[in-house]
Symmetry: C2
Subunit: 310 residues, 2 copies
Amino acid sequence: MCALAGGVGAAKMLRGVLRVVEPSSVTAIVNTGDDVVLHGLHISPDLDTITYTLAGAVNPETGWGLVGETWEAMTALDRYDGLTWFRLGDRDLATHLYRTQRLRDGLSLTEVTAEVVSAWGLGLRLLPVTDDRLETRVTVEGEGEINFQEYFVGRQHNVTVSSVRFDGAEAATAGPEVLDALAAADVVIVCPSNPIVSIAPVLAVPGVRDAVVARRDAAVAVSPIVAGAALKGPADRLLRELGHDASVVGVARLYRDFVATLVIDEADADLADAVQDEGMRCVVAPTVMRSGEDAEALARVVLAATGRPA
Amino acid sequence: MCALAGGVGAAKMLRGVLRVVEPSSVTAIVNTGDDVVLHGLHISPDLDTITYTLAGAVNPETGWGLVGETWEAMTALDRYDGLTWFRLGDRDLATHLYRTQRLRDGLSLTEVTAEVVSAWGLGLRLLPVTDDRLETRVTVEGEGEINFQEYFVGRQHNVTVSSVRFDGAEAATAGPEVLDALAAADVVIVCPSNPIVSIAPVLAVPGVRDAVVARRDAAVAVSPIVAGAALKGPADRLLRELGHDASVVGVARLYRDFVATLVIDEADADLADAVQDEGMRCVVAPTVMRSGEDAEALARVVLAATGRPA
């Protein structure tokens, strides 16, 4: 099974998936458009959020970073008036130190990620969508184009966006196992991640979108929009500002070319017909994952929707 | 006043100097041959040891690193089997994060160092001897040539050394203020640092040795060897292994071309004549700095030796 994944929503979804299928059969293809180099360190927020969540080590209050984290380095960085807007906990820093060192040693991001996943004792395969540079850049009204993290964390996504692009995507090559994993998957899950800044950059890497389109019948997406709003983050606002419907119908329009089935929340049951009018099968189920049990139940719904037993 | 400086011994000496002269009149020209890039971070051990010591923030037990430090990042790095032999405390990490970011921003090491020194509220000028790459490399018996920190920290300098060289020195340019500072100094102090791996790399940067030679009459060194032993580190062993006398006389032979006066410890009073036989003036005084008062007294001796009132 393959999953296209962003950060927090994908991490929760995968936590449910791992409760119902053999972890070694699961490959998550993860957005790296959010990756950023700060202090010379290579930071991969989506990869880390998934790793920490699946390891049961994520900070449950934020959905990112490590539980019980300390902040000595960031506090000390204040003395220098250093870059502290992107908060890196002391233990989290170790992941970035390690990743950066291993990349300097000549490993690919795919290889380092496998080491990190193994170090946390996880059984699934996490694949960065590409080992090449991919940088989500956001044009903000009155400011111009900025890096995704400057938008997402620096401005707390509390600004108006007029466009999003994925710098480096055209020149990037899909990670060495990515296209094969999609071709071999019995099921392709599009996790409830931000369609604009988490799923779109994954699809922007040459070959990935075509590989998913080829598996459309096996593909099921979970809407990240519930009752017109994102559960977390700026997906609803971004959809609106970029001319899409901030609804499950808007999501359906973005996904219908490469996904056969859309799972929407019970709160959106009245829109099921409208989703089907977009040419997708529609499954209505509870999609809000407050617990591992919620995530497991949603994973069963997703698998049932594709006809795979779970 | 100018000082040629390595790490712990120089830091203690400078602490004394700052007690007796106006800090703004003091320039320390600091060894960067110990600098190392680990985890992608630019680490400048001697600059940091001096900064932390003068700020009263150094760990008094080790002589390096910060007092009251925590080690969450290093402990977390163990999970990945990462590089933990070079211990970086969480608060100390902030210095390396900041330095690395600012170098990436395009500042020189000289400029970043000035920012760090200012952030700690220090009044003196700390100058890296060069902004260019300078890497002390050590040939270890049975192992071959390794980086200085691999030798010093990794092997805890508990190996036999057959040669030392300063990679990059020939191509390096002295820092932008270094040669002028030496030319303008009323006094040049060669701090009680390791002659082989702290003072020699400073002198190896083109122009520096000549600039010190030109100020020989104003130059006074404090012997880092007391009673045939280094107070800290491998200076005695290195001197012996590289064919020098591990004594104040051996130090005199290494320094006599560019230093007029050698301050030796009372424990070596019987060697004063032998030092003078090497063509240097010799001053006998207590040189072991256990306290700020010790360091201040030594600073007064050094200044008196040059004829400068203190």
